[in-house]
Symmetry: C2
């Protein structure tokens, strides 16, 4: 309804650039793929086999992108804005599994099979693209390199999941929140979205709470302490890291 939809056919190269962010998994997945065919002419790139259809959508903040039980035939890539992927219990308790930034797949797993039980929701206004999974799989057959890369991305996601469990099971509130901030900063930095320790920070405290397994009230208190201790400063939906060293210490980083 609120989605503006554009349908296009595209070459591999343009798929890549469609993936927005040169540091995101989506871009990396396609980067340099096709080198196996470099002896052949550029026209090959334009052959029908390499064409893929996508659609572009834009939705306002707080809207749902995928519903938990949706069994979609599409693969989604975030192109602009922040989103969040979570599971919710029937009584409303919610756990955020990851924040999605430009260039992220909603989940690498979704490239191969529809994901279930997770819901994805826009934090800011979000622009995303959708590919048909079957088109994508055809590419996988065409370019075996892709499979190799896919598994790398997948592995990465799993390492993230392991760290999440460790954080939730074994770290204090201060550590969890500090690491969340550092983690986001690192990911944004790779995308060139950090400027002298300053980044956009559209998250509500409720998002931080659901990501760290805490309460919004408690998040507020911890962020308050962090600010009073001059570790960070939050203003106008942007966050400045004022004392990275100390923040890392409280995060028990490395």
């Amino acid at each position: 309804m609120h989605a503006e939809v554009v349908q296009q056919k595209a070459s591999l190269e343009s798929i890549q650039s469609a993936c927005s962010c040169s540091a995101g998994p989506a871009y990396k997945l396609f980067q340099g793929v096709g080198t196996r065919k470099e002896a052949e002419t550029a026209e090959d790139w334009q052959s029908a086999d390499l064409l893929i259809k996508w659609s572009v959508h834009t939705i306002p903040a707080r809207r749902t992108i995928c519903h938990p039980k949706e069994w979609s035939e599409f693969v989604t890539v975030i192109c602009q804005g922040w989103a969040v992927s979570s599971i919710t219990l029937s009584d409303g308790r919610r756990q955020i599994l990851s924040f999605l930034l430009p260039g992220d797949f909603v989940s690498a797993a979704s490239l191969v099979e529809p994901i279930s039980d997770r819901s994805v929701e826009a934090v800011t206004e979000v622009t995303y693209r959708k590919f048909k999974r079957s088109d994508f799989k055809a590419l996988l057959v065409e370019f075996p390199d892709l499979t190799e890369r896919l598994s790398t991305i997948w592995l990465d996601e799993r390492a993230q999941a392991d760290q999440l469990a460790l954080d939730l099971g074994r770290r204090t509130a201060d550590e969890r929140i500090a690491r969340l901030i550092l983690n986001l900063m690192e990911r944004l930095a790779m995308r060139g979205m950090v400027n002298v320790q300053t980044m956009e920070f559209p998250l509500r405290q409720r998002h931080i709470a659901d990501a760290t397994g805490l309460t919004p009230v408690h998040v507020s208190k911890v962020l308050g302490e962090f600010q009073r201790a001059d570790l960070i400063e939050i203003n106008n939906r942007s966050l400045i890291i004022k004392n990275e060293k100390e923040l890392r210490r409280t995060a028990d980083w490395r």
Copy 2:
């Protein structure tokens, strides 16, 4: 050192039976694979391409199977006994990511790339088999079906990881422990290792604590309550579920 090693060559069929447990992922991975070749003769199964080497190892309880930084070229399958896969912080805090039962791969991810940072440790005496990853990958090329199945197993593991995060972030101690028990019972039942609600239960309370993000002391208290409430009974390293319905309720199961 304590490992008794046997090297063998094996056909696909025998790989499968080597994977011990007809309900484990390892067995399922190979089940029915090769149907694409059913028009051909049985000799094909014995062709050199299908041979793979494995070694069998047995280690006593509490010994380490893989060290965190080990970058092994092998894929490991648990054949007998219980093991545990975990990450540990430098200060000793530890999070168990999964319990490994007969027929489980140490991690599906390890089939494609060496895993890092996780350590695997025997709970009971454990027998496991090791394949060379490169041999395994050769099979993947030979049998495209395998890739499809592999991704199913992988997806499963990810769903498990999501649930773990939800449990650790958003559930109470009682819920976490009850679910752990039910979860193990379900997995053991698939393997035919449960008899009238009774199962082997070699876990120390320390394992339960590290899996649920709690303290051994608190685990003891909760298990005590469960027993006093006649939900379960623990004796001689075996566990009986005496009131499954109520246990499920406290687990908030389904």
